[in-house]
């Protein structure tokens, strides 16, 4: 029994909206999404994998749009290896789902039942097991499952589920179940952060996370896995296919230094959320900052989380309109119970001071 090479991807969430992108950029990302699919296919082909596994949530919803379906079919059809899809909680299998409605290429197999099935590939001495969600939630699929080992045969499983979260509504899987499954490798999906290679008993398992971030909850580098498994051994290599990264950066504005100089270089392809922190006299001029940083990021979202400098509050002691205004807000600030309320009071103080000082409105064109 010699090892085989597998491409393992999951949680593409196609058709979910892109966060933090204006129309034109979103349209560009849409085009890039097609390229992402093609890059995954190309990676599979250039790595000469014997199997390509997609462990669920390929689509964000059950009502995939025509174009997405076509791109997906085109990409998967171009992979020179059998492709297996295990529908997940977002793209669960139903007669109305794209998995049932669209004409899939011959090399693509979709697990459409909520129990583990075997799709044998006899020539390869290889068995691929899997199951699909048929609803937005799914009880543990591996519960009580045990494959009868056959000599000289590699057993691989492709399934969407969550390991070690007993109360999970998304196919909770325990390490015991994995160890008993008799599989050589279990290709999982669901969690968007990459797992690295794990092992329970003689069974290896992993989830690659999403291959490209789609929002600020999916920051950093993203991968698909190239897995070599066989002879009781397993190795795993993350391969980056993403074109864009989402990153969140906090910058302290207290010292009044030039923001542009503090930011990292080489971020032209990335989507950044810049959170301005620290204590300042006046609210930062977000539109001006945005203009100054234009071109350094694919897209940039600036959030002002700066706080009014402490000494501004000190004028709350003055016996003037300004002083009384600040005094009342200070009282409201101290009485506020949530961060949100405190932020509101802080912001009100800033607006009021700007009006009293006859300053221009600083944030009127944000996000336009």
């Amino acid at each position: 029994m010699s090892g085989i090479k597998i491409l393992h991807a999951a949680d593409l969430h196609l058709d979910s909206p892109f966060e933090g992108l204006p129309d034109a950029k979103a349209a560009q990302r849409r085009a890039e999404q097609r390229q992402l699919l093609m890059r995954i296919a190309q990676t599979a082909n250039s790595e000469h994998v014997k199997l390509a596994l997609f462990s669920g949530d390929l689509l964000d919803t059950g009502s995939a749009y025509m174009e997405t379906g076509e791109s997906l079919i085109g990409a998967l059809g171009s992979i020179d290896a059998p492709v297996f899809i295990a529908p997940g909680n977002h793209d669960w299998y139903s007669p109305r789902s794209p998995y049932a409605r669209l004409k899939w290429p011959e090399n693509v197999t979709i697990f459409s039942h909520p129990h583990i099935e075997c799709a044998a590939l006899p020539d390869e001495k290889l068995r691929v097991w899997g199951a699909g969600f048929t609803d937005s939630s799914c009880p543990g699929l591996l519960e009580g499952f045990e494959a009868e080992k056959e000599p000289e045969t590699i057993d691989i499983m492709c399934v969407h589920g969550e390991v070690g979260v007993r109360e999970s509504a998304y196919d909770p899987i325990t390490e015991d179940e994995i160890a008993r499954s008799g599989m050589d490798y279990i290709a999982l999906g669901h969690v968007h952060k990459t797992s690295g290679l794990r092992r329970a008993g003689d069974t290896y398992y992993a989830w690659p996370g999403c291959p490209e971030g789609r929002g600020f909850d999916e920051t950093g580098d993203k991968y698909v896995y190239i897995v070599d498994v066989g002879d009781g051994k397993c190795s795993l290599r993350p391969v980056s296919v993403a074109q864009r990264r989402y990153e969140i950066l906090r910058e302290d504005m207290s010292d009044g230094g030039e923001l542009a100089e503090k930011l990292p270089e080489g971020t032209e392809n990335d989507i950044y959320r810049l959170i301005l922190t620290g204590e300042t006299d006046a609210a930062p001029d977000v539109p001006a900052l945005r203009r100054a940083l234009e071109g350094r990021f694919f897209a940039l979202e600036i959030r002002d989380a700066t706080r009014l400098r402490r000494d501004v509050w000190e004028r709350a002691g003055e016996d003037t309109l300004r002083g009384l205004f600040l005094k009342k807000l200070k009282a409201a600030f101290d009485a506020a119970e949530t961060d949100e309320d405190r932020e509101l009071v802080m912001s009100a103080a800033r607006w009021g001071l700007a009006a009293l000082d006859n300053r221009e409105e600083a944030r009127s064109d944000e996000n336009k």
Partner: protein, 633 residues
């Protein structure tokens, strides 16, 4: 600051001069003697003339109104004492369009310029307040006694009652905040409603697209069904047409064989009939009616019989010979016997001739009969009468055969015609059977079904293409979703701003109310004091709100009276009291500027006027008061 002396070339004033002293100056002069002009002149000397003002209905700008009647340039000088220094201010005009623009300030009696004073800022520096505040406080114009607010005056008044800076105006800040708030939401306008509309528009679009996608799915399924129907019908149609053609061909070829056979039979019989007729026609009798022929033959035969007998009845020469013998005997006897016997010879000769002639006649008749008989017989090609019957018998045979053949030919023709007509009918019916478009056969019905199924398929395909096109023009749903999300985040942030601004507005209002709760009583208290003095204690309470609307309460009343309810005199008096209180409280304490009053007492009765003058005298102890009046006292 106080005014000592003025010289003016201004309106009706043409180089006129006027002097003032400390304390209360009452300038009494009749109407149209230039009192208001002097007032305007003071303002012009301090703050200059705003040459940007334009004339409009009911309003003349100062540069026009006070252009010197003499036609000389607008100019003048004013000697003042300010900060302990005597200063001469001079304003002249270089052009009519920019009057009083040239400015100089020197120490009186010298050419030493006073530093820091220029055309624009002189007034504010000298009085300590802006033109705006000056007009609303110390400068009490005729008919403009009513008190009105301005952000700056408000700042001053606010600072009366607070200890801090005087750089903030509630009204201004409130207005600014409200403008920011309005930019976000004002009824159905502003960024938030705009975003709401756009978001709901985009959501509608997305819903449209989703239903469009669903519609397309349905259409596709129906198209697939229609394609299946088409295929099924196509094979059914092909099969049924094939069957129909085969049946039609079989029927037609049978009918054609029948027709061919009938036509062959007919042509055979026609040949025979033609031969029989030829034989008949070649017959000696020819094509004649057999009955007639029989009758004629019978008659001809009888006639020939008669003629034969007649031909046999020839003349006998015996008589002639007897007569000749007799004659010869007579001659002999006559020669021999008597000549008389010669007479007998003559008689015998005559008898002989007669008898010969008779015999000849009989022979000719027989000859004619024989000839006629021969003719009759030859008409029948008969040798004798008996042959005629045979000839007729043969004719009758031929005739009957010919008739029979012709009858048979006619029958065959009728059969052939019938077969042809049958064939034609069959051909026509087959043609109509094979007309799969219009016929009513199973094949034609299926054909029509197929045509309508194809039509349905085409219709669906067109509809899908149309839906595709429509969906394509609607844009990319993913882009729309992203855009909705981005707008929603913008909406949330704008909503946060709106809430913060609203909170700022509310808080600022509270802060202002607090200030106002302090300054209103103070201003009101002083004004009430003044009013009480002027009304001899009749009104003892004045209530002033932020917008300077004023109410006064008579002593003993519980409810203050709105200004509308006060008499013109009392109203003027109340305003004057408030004005004086404003001057006292809002104008700088240092180097107090003079109060200029242009006939504010016209509506006062003499008692109140007296009291007012007394009050002004009191005030004039602290600052110069210049009162222009048309009253003679």
């Amino acid at each position: 600051m106080k005014i000592n002396k003025m010289t003016a070339s201004f309106g009706r004033l043409s180089g006129d001069a006027i002097e003032f002293r400390d304390g209360l100056n009452v300038v009494t002069a009749p109407n149209e003697s230039g009192k208001s002009t002097w007032c305007a002149f003071i303002r012009a000397m301090l703050y200059g003339i705003d040459s940007g003002e334009r004339a409009k209905t009911g309003f003349l700008p100062d540069k026009v109104r006070y252009a010197p009647w003499s036609g000389a340039p607008m100019e003048g000088s004013m000697d003042i004492t300010c900060g302990g220094a005597n200063i001469t201010l001079t304003r002249t005009s270089r052009s009519h369009s920019a009057p009083m623009r040239e400015f100089s300030a020197v120490i009186t009696g010298t050419n030493t310029p006073v530093p820091g004073l220029d055309a624009q800022t002189a007034g504010e520096k000298l009085t300590g307040v802006s033109r705006d505040v000056f007009r609303r406080s110390a400068f009490i114009e005729q008919g403009a006694l009513a008190v009105s607010g301005s952000p700056e005056l408000e700042k001053r008044i606010a600072s009366i009652v607070s200890t801090g800076e005087e750089d903030t105006s509630y009204t201004e800040a409130d207005e600014t905040l409200r403008a920011w708030q309005r930019a976000r939401r004002f009824n159905r306008r502003g960024r938030l409603p705009e975003l709401e509309n756009r978001i709901s528009g985009e959501k509608d679009r997305l819903r449209d697209m989703e239903s469009g996608e669903l519609g397309r799915e349905t259409l596709r399924r129906r198209l697939e069904e229609a394609s299946g129907d088409c295929e099924k019908l196509e094979s059914m149609v092909t099969e049924s047409r094939r069957q129909y053609r085969r049946d039609a061909l079989e029927k037609l070829s049978a009918s054609r064989g029948e027709l061919e056979r009938a036509s062959q039979n007919y042509s055979d019989l026609a040949v025979r009939a033609r031969a029989d007729r030829a034989a008949l026609e070649h017959n000696v009798i020819g094509d004649r009616e057999p009955a007639t022929v029989t009758q004629e033959a019978k008659r001809d035969k009888a006639r020939a019989d008669t003629l034969r007998r007649e031909a046999e009845d020839r003349g006998s020469p015996a008589g002639v010979v007897a007569c000749a013998i007799l004659m010869a005997a007579a001659v002999v006897l006559g020669i021999l016997v008597s000549p008389y016997i010669f007479a007998a010879a003559v008689l015998a000769a005559a008898g002989c001739v007669l008898l010969w002639m008779n015999m000849k006649k009989k022979d000719a008749a027989a000859e004619a009969a024989a000839e006629e008989r021969r003719k009759i017989l030859s008409a029948y090609s008969a040798g004798c009468e008996a042959d005629i019957d045979a000839v007729v018998e043969e004719f009758r045979g031929l005739y009957a055969a010919c008739m029979a053949a012709e009858q048979e030919e006619a029958d065959a023709k009728a059969r052939m015609d019938a077969a042809k007509s049958r064939h034609d009918t069959l051909e026509a019916s087959t043609l109509s059977d094979l007309d799969f478009a219009n016929g009513d056969t199973e094949a034609a019905r299926l054909g029509r079904q197929l045509a309508s199924a194809r039509q349905e398929k085409e219709r669906l395909a067109a509809q899908i293409a149309q839906t595709d096109g429509r969906l394509q023009t609607m844009g990319d749903p993913l882009v729309i979703k992203s855009s909705i999300e981005s707008m929603q985040s913008e909406y949330a942030s704008a909503q946060r701003e709106y809430d913060a601004i609203t909170l700022a507005i509310d808080t600022l209002r509270d802060a202002d109310a607090e200030i106002q709760s302090r300054f209103s009583p103070e201003l009101g208290k002083l004004a009430a004091e003044y009013m009480s003095i002027m009304t001899g204690g009749k009104y003892d309470s004045v209530l002033i709100s932020r917008d300077f609307s004023i109410r006064a309460r008579a002593a003993g009343d519980t409810v203050p009276r709105e200004s509308e309810y006060l008499s013109a005199g009392t109203l003027d008096l109340m305003y004057l009291a408030v004005r004086l209180a404003v001057c006292r409280l809002a104008l700088p304490e240092e180097d107090k500027c003079p109060i200029i009053l242009d006939d504010p007492l016209v509506n006062f009765d003499s008692e109140r006027e007296k009291q007012a003058i007394k009050l002004l005298e009191e005030i004039a102890k602290e600052r110069q008061v210049i009162l222009f009046s048309c009253h003679c006292e």
